[in-house]
């Protein structure tokens, strides 16, 4: 009987620890990003628009800029890697009206580029949508800061994201949107040869970043492309390439499945590839 009571006591003591794995640390502070579009003319600086995005670590945001001839979407994925450092992955897509064809159809010049930064809280990201050069320059400055507000509200719920527009751009030409989805996932992959398991591997992967995994004779490069809220289970979209002995046997294969459910792919020659994707330990769905 004494043993049973002890076990019950130990379990009771462990409960808060187990619960803390499911919720973010109560002392964790939110991160704030100040996004300012600044027009520079020589020495003079004029703020064209300004917004604040605030949310828990892992908050992502997009900046859109458009006028009659130019359109830019800048997508920022952020992660707090150490208490003093953020990892920011940026992707820029621009489209510029180049002219018109003989048949009077618009011709566009499109460009896509990606950059990854380790960013301290005393640093900032500077984005020049139109590049450098000339006296007139438009630049977008993204400055991170720790907020005074903690991630959790007093009731223990994750506080929602907040966007404050401090100055709106003329005609709404520059806009900001923010979202929070899980970034870290645990991938489990298994390879079967005519129904017999020949290799199994697990790895952690980041959203929108290719993860290379060696699975027996196969070399895999898998990316979790997207996370979508859904009922009864959230969904993940993946894509992957697979090669064997230097020969590509799958390129750009893709799929969508519920979190934790299995995805099967027949690779030919009796080979079957099975994936399942879960949230990485410590990652929260953030509902």
């Amino acid at each position: 009987m004494k043993t049973l009571v002890r076990i019950a006591l130990v379990l009771l003591l462990c409960l808060p620890l187990m619960a803390s794995d499911l919720k973010p640390d109560a002392g964790l502070k939110r991160i704030r990003f100040q996004i300012s579009a600044v027009e520079e003319r020589g020495e003079a600086r004029q703020i064209v628009s300004q917004a604040l995005v605030e949310g828990p670590p892992g908050t992502d945001f997009n900046i859109h800029l458009r006028d009659a001839r130019f359109k830019m979407t800048a997508k920022f994925l952020t992660d707090l890697v150490t208490p003093d450092k953020l990892r920011v992955r940026a992707r820029l897509d621009t489209r510029r009206l180049h002219g018109y064809s003989e048949r009077r159809l618009p011709l566009y010049e499109e460009d896509a580029q990606g950059e990854s930064f380790e960013l301290g809280f005393d640093e900032q990201i500077v984005l020049l949508p139109f590049g450098r050069g000339g006296d007139d320059q438009l630049q977008i400055e993204i400055s991170p800061a720790r907020s005074d507000e903690s991630v959790l509200s007093p009731s223990g719920e994750v506080r929602p994201l907040a966007i404050r527009i401090l100055k709106q751009s003329p005609g709404g030409a520059i806009s900001v949107e923010a979202s929070r989805v899980p970034h870290r996932f645990r991938l489990e992959a298994a390879l079967f040869d005519r129904g017999r398991e020949v290799a199994r591997e697990a790895a952690e992967c980041l959203i929108e970043e290719a993860r290379e995994v060696r699975l027996g004779p196969l070399a895999l490069a898998l990316t979790v492309d997207r996370y979508a809220r859904d009922r009864p289970r959230d969904q993940v979209a993946i894509s992957f390439d697979a090669s064997r002995a230097g020969e590509t046997i799958a390129r750009g294969w893709a799929g969508v499945a519920g979190l934790g459910s299995e995805m099967n792919y027949e690779l030919g020659d009796g080979l079957t590839l099975k994936f399942s994707i879960r949230l990485a330990p410590g990652e929260t769905a953030g509902r």
Binding site: E40, L65, R66, D67, A68, R69, F70, M72, A74, A90, L92, T94, R96, D111, Q113, E115, F117, L119, D122, E123, Q124, I125, V126, L127, L128, P129, F130, G131, R132, G133, G134, D136, Q137, L138, E141, S143, S169, P170, G171, G172, A173
Partner: protein, 148 residues
């Protein structure tokens, strides 16, 4: 059956083709019965539209309708029960008294009302920044960038 030149023939009839294209379309017209028929149809349609545009407006109906036996509204009689009439008179009197009393100013009405004129947001035009260069993104020390 259709001919791929039929659209060109429509533009030729409307005088929208460049001289070189017009010459090519006319040469095609000489060789294609379908397009000749299409040209005739377009010309007939245009003539109909021009005829409709130039036709005078129909005369407005000025003649009043006759034969109505109902009296004009200002000569009609309305019968009302006495209590209803009394209620209406009391309501009218109350409205009259209310409109004569000066309205009480609200507490926050010290400042005169101001007309707010909303200017439409100016159209965004960033073309003065655009020299055709590629977008650029980099990391900077905050103070360094702010001092620039």
């Amino acid at each position: 059956m259709t001919c791929q030149f039929t659209e060109r023939i429509s533009q030729l009839v409307d005088g929208e083709l460049a001289p070189a294209d017009a010459g090519q379309a006319r040469r095609h017209l000489a060789a294609c019965a379908l397009c000749r028929q299409a040209e005739a149809d377009y010309l007939a349609l245009r003539a109909e539209i021009q005829a409709a545009d130039s036709a005078p407006d129909p005369a407005p109906a000025r003649t009043p309708l006759r034969g109505s036996r109902r009296a004009p509204i200002w000569r009609r009689e309305v019968a009302l029960p006495a209590p209803v009439l009394a209620l209406l008179l009391v309501a009218l009197a109350a409205l009259g008294v209310r409109s004569v009393r000066p309205p009480q100013a609200p507490d926050n009405a010290a400042a005169p009302p101001q007309r707010v004129r909303r200017e439409p947001p100016p159209a965004s035009d960033f073309s003065r920044f655009d020299r055709g260069a590629r977008a650029l993104i980099y990391k900077a020390r905050r103070a360094e960038s702010e001092s620039r």
